[in-house]
C-alpha cells in the first residue's frame, strides 16, 4: 500500500470496506454484496458490479437467507449492514441458513457497542455472545480501520462464515502501520509489549487501552496490550502465555456486555486449563440499557471508560 498512515490518524472503516469490496470483486467473480438498506459504503462495488449487488430493503432475515442461497451455489456473499439488526433479527437465519451448513457468508457491519448515540435499539452489545454461540462461526471485532481490509481479504479463503464487527466506522483511529503486525484471523495482536499486566481488548477500545498503557508507563508499570480481534476461536495459547509472562494479572476491556464477550472467553480458557490469576478485572457494559450520550460519555458512565481502565490497571498491578 503506497499511502502511509500515522498512529491516531482518523480514517473511515466504512470507506475501507467499500474500496476493499470493490477491489475483491475484481479478483473474485463470485463475490456478491448484499445489504438491508445500508448501502452508502457500498457504492463503489454497486457501481462496478451492479449485477452482484443486492439491496433487499429493510429485510434482514431475507438478506441473510438470500446470501446463504448464493453461497450454496458456490458464491462468496458479503452481507453488510447495521449489526444490532443483523445479529438479532436475522440471528436464526445466520444460525440455520449459514452456520449449520457452514457456508462462506461474511457478515460485516457497524454499530458494535455503545456507538452512534442511537439509544439501546441501535447498540449491538449482545452480539459477541450470540454469534459466539454459533458452531462454525468465526467472530471478529476490528478497531483499526485498515485492518478491516486485511480481514476481508483473508476471509475470501475461509470455508465457513465470519462475523466482522466494527464500531461506528465513520472516523476510526489508525492503530497500526500496514505491515507492522502479522495480522491473522484467530491470532491476537501484541499491540504493546509489557510484563506487569496484560490488558486484553478488541475493536473500538484498543486505542483507549493503548492510551492507558502510556499513562501506566509514566507511573512505572509495564502494560502489555493485546488486541484480541478474533473473539472466536480465541487465541488460547496467547492467553496462557500472557498469564505466565505478565505475572497472572489480567484486565479485559470491551465495548460489549461485560459477561458473554471476550472476558468470558478468556475466563473459559483459564478455567479449562486450571490457570489461576492474581488479578482479573472485567471492564464492559453492565446489565443496563445504556441510553443516550456519545461514546466517550457512555463508557465513562457505565464504568469502562479511560478513568475506569486506569483504575483497574492500578488495582491489578497492586495485587
Amino acid at each position: 500500500m503506497s499511502t502511509t498512515f500515522t498512529f491516531g490518524e482518523m480514517l473511515s472503516a466504512r470507506s475501507v470496506i467499500g474500496s476493499t469490496l470493490a477491489e475483491l470483486g475484481e479478483s473474485h467473480e463470485n463475490l456478491w454484496v448484499l445489504t438491508p438498506d445500508i448501502g452508502a459504503t457500498l457504492v463503489e462495488f454497486r457501481e462496478k458490479y451492479p449485477d452482484r449487488f443486492i439491496d433487499v430493503g429493510l429485510a434482514e432475515q431475507a438478506c441473510v437467507g438470500i446470501a446463504a442461497g448464493l453461497a450454496y451455489d458456490g458464491n462468496l456473499p458479503v452481507v453488510s449492514g447495521m449489526l444490532p439488526f443483523l445479529s438479532m433479527r436475522a440471528l436464526e437465519q445466520i444460525r440455520t441458513d449459514v452456520s449449520y451448513p457452514n457456508l462462506p457468508v461474511k457478515i460485516i457491519g457497524t454499530h458494535g457497542g455503545l456507538v452512534g448515540n442511537g439509544g439501546s435499539t441501535h447498540y449491538a452489545v449482545e452480539d459477541l455472545t450470540l454469534l459466539g454461540a454459533l458452531t462454525n462461526m468465526t467472530v471478529t471485532s476490528i478497531g483499526d480501520p485498515l485492518m478491516v481490509g486485511d480481514i476481508l481479504r483473508q476471509s475470501m479463503d475461509m470455508p465457513g462464515p465470519i462475523y466482522i464487527r466494527l464500531a461506528a466506522g465513520k472516523a476510526d483511529a489508525v492503530l497500526y502501520q500496514p505491515g507492522e503486525h502479522d495480522i491473522r484471523i484467530g491470532k491476537g495482536i501484541v499491540a504493546r509489549d509489557g510484563a506487569d499486566v496484560t490488558l486484553f481488548t478488541h475493536g473500538t477500545t484498543v486505542l483507549q487501552a493503548l492510551n492507558a498503557a502510556d499513562v501506566l508507563a509514566d507511573e512505572g508499570h509495564s502494560v502489555r496490550v493485546i488486541d484480541m480481534f478474533t473473539i472466536k476461536p480465541i487465541d488460547a495459547e496467547l492467553v496462557l502465555r500472557c498469564a505466565s509472562e505478565t505475572d497472572g494479572r489480567f484486565v479485559v476491556l470491551e465495548d460489549h456486555l461485560a459477561y458473554g464477550g471476550l472476558a468470558t472467553r478468556i475466563a473459559d480458557v483459564l478455567a479449562d486449563n486450571g490457570t489461576a490469576l492474581n488479578a482479573f478485572e472485567r471492564l464492559g457494559i453492565p446489565q443496563v440499557y445504556a441510553g443516550f450520550g456519545d461514546d466517550e460519555e457512555l463508557r465513562e458512565k457505565h464504568g469502562y471508560g479511560p478513568s475506569a481502565t486506569l483504575a483497574a490497571l492500578r488495582r491489578a498491578v497492586a495485587k
Binding site: W32, D51, R52, I54, V56, G57, A59, Q61, A62, V64, G65, I66, A67, A68, G69, L70, A71, Y72, D73, G74, N75, P77, E92, Q93, T96, D97, Y100, P101, N102
Partner: protein, 291 residues
C-alpha cells in the same frame, strides 16, 4: 417448458405419475408404521402428489450427476415434509428406500425429521425451521441469473409456513430482482399444527396476496396429477421476469380417510392395526380414483 426439462418422450404419463404417487404414499405409511417415533405424516401426504410431479416430471435432475450446474434446484422450505421428499427422491433414483426406512431417525443416519445437506448431499439445502426456504431459493435463483444459466429453482412451502415474515421479505426480493426462474409451490392444505388455518389465521384472499407481491399466480388442485402437470407445462420461460407461485389446494392426510382433515395427524406413528387400516384406506382411495 424451460430449456432444461427432460424431453417429452422420456417423461412419465399422468397415469404413471399417479402410480408413483401411490407408491410414495404406501412407502410413507410403511415408514410411519415401522419407525418408533412420530412422523409428520399429515403434511407428507398432502405434499405427495406435488413432490411426485416435481421429482418425477417437472424438474430436470439427474441422480447420477448431483452437481450438474444445469440441474434444477429444489429447496424444501416446508422442511417438515422431509420424509416425503426423501422417498420421492428415492423413487426418482437418488437414494435406496431401504436405506431410508431402515435408518430413519437413528444415530448417524442421513435421514431425519428435517433435511440436512451436510449429512445427505443429495438434498440442496438444510431446512426445517419454517420461512427459510424461499430466501434460500431467491439466492440460488439470483446465482443462476448471475451465471447466465437457464435452470429453475423450485421450492415447496406449506401455507401455514407463510405466516413467517421472512417469506414475504423474500417474495418482495424475488419480484424486485425479476426472478422468473423461481417457482414456489404452496402446499395449501389449510391446516396448521393445532388449528384449521382460517380458524385462527386469516390467509384469504391468499392468491391475491401473492399477486399483490407481483408474482405470477397459478392455482391448481394439488391432488389432480394432470392439473399439476399442466401447471408445470405452463410455466413461463425461466428467463421471464415474474416469479411463479403454484398454489396447490391439498388435503392434509390425503389418501387415508381417518387422517384427512384431522388435527391429530399433524405428526404421529402408526401401530400395526392402524397401519393396516391406513393401507386399506389408501387402496380404497386408489380404487376410487382408477374407477
Amino acid at each position: 417448458m424451460g430449456e432444461h426439462t427432460p424431453a417429452a418422450a422420456e417423461r412419465p404419463s399422468v397415469a404413471e405419475l399417479e402410480e408413483r404417487a401411490y407408491e410414495l404414499r404406501e412407502k410413507l405409511l410403511h415408514l410411519c408404521g415401522t419407525y418408533e417415533g412420530a412422523v409428520h405424516i399429515g403434511g407428507d401426504l398432502s405434499a405427495a402428489d406435488v413432490l411426485t410431479a416435481l421429482f418425477q416430471y417437472g424438474m430436470h435432475v439427474d441422480p447420477s450427476d448431483l452437481r450438474n450446474p444445469e440441474r434444477d434446484r429444489f429447496v424444501l422450505s416446508k422442511g417438515h415434509a422431509a420424509v416425503c421428499m426423501y422417498i420421492a427422491m428415492s423413487i426418482r433414483g437418488f437414494f435406496d428406500f431401504d436405506g431410508i426406512v431402515d435408518t430413519y431417525g437413528k444415530l448417524d443416519s442421513a435421514y431425519g425429521m428435517h433435511p440436512c445437506k451436510v449429512q445427505l448431499p443429495g438434498v440442496e439445502a438444510s431446512t426445517g425451521s419454517l420461512g427459510h426456504g424461499l430466501p434460500l431459493a431467491v439466492g440460488m435463483a439470483l446465482s443462476a441469473r448471475g451465471r447466465g444459466e437457464a435452470h429453475r429453482v423450485f421450492t415447496l412451502l406449506g401455507d401455514g409456513e407463510t405466516g413467517e415474515g421472512s417469506v414475504w421479505e423474500a417474495a418482495m426480493a424475488a419480484r424486485s430482482n425479476r426472478l422468473g426462474n423461481l417457482v414456489a409451490v404452496i402446499d395449501r392444505n389449510r391446516q396448521l399444527m393445532t388449528s384449521f388455518a382460517e380458524e385462527r389465521v386469516v390467509f384469504e384472499p391468499y392468491p391475491d396476496k401473492w399477486a399483490a407481491f407481483g408474482w405470477n399466480v397459478v392455482q391448481v388442485d394439488g391432488h389432480d396429477m394432470s392439473a399439476l402437470v399442466g401447471a408445470i407445462d405452463g410455466l413461463p420461460s425461466s428467463s421471464s421476469e415474474r416469479p411463479t407461485v403454484i398454489i396447490a389446494e391439498t388435503v392434509k392426510g390425503k389418501g387415508v380417510d381417518f387422517m384427512e382433515h384431522n388435527l391429530a395427524w399433524h405428526a404421529g406413528r402408526l401401530g400395526a392395526a392402524d397401519l393396516e387400516r391406513a393401507m386399506a384406506s389408501l387402496a380404497a382411495s386408489r380404487k376410487e380414483r382408477v374407477a
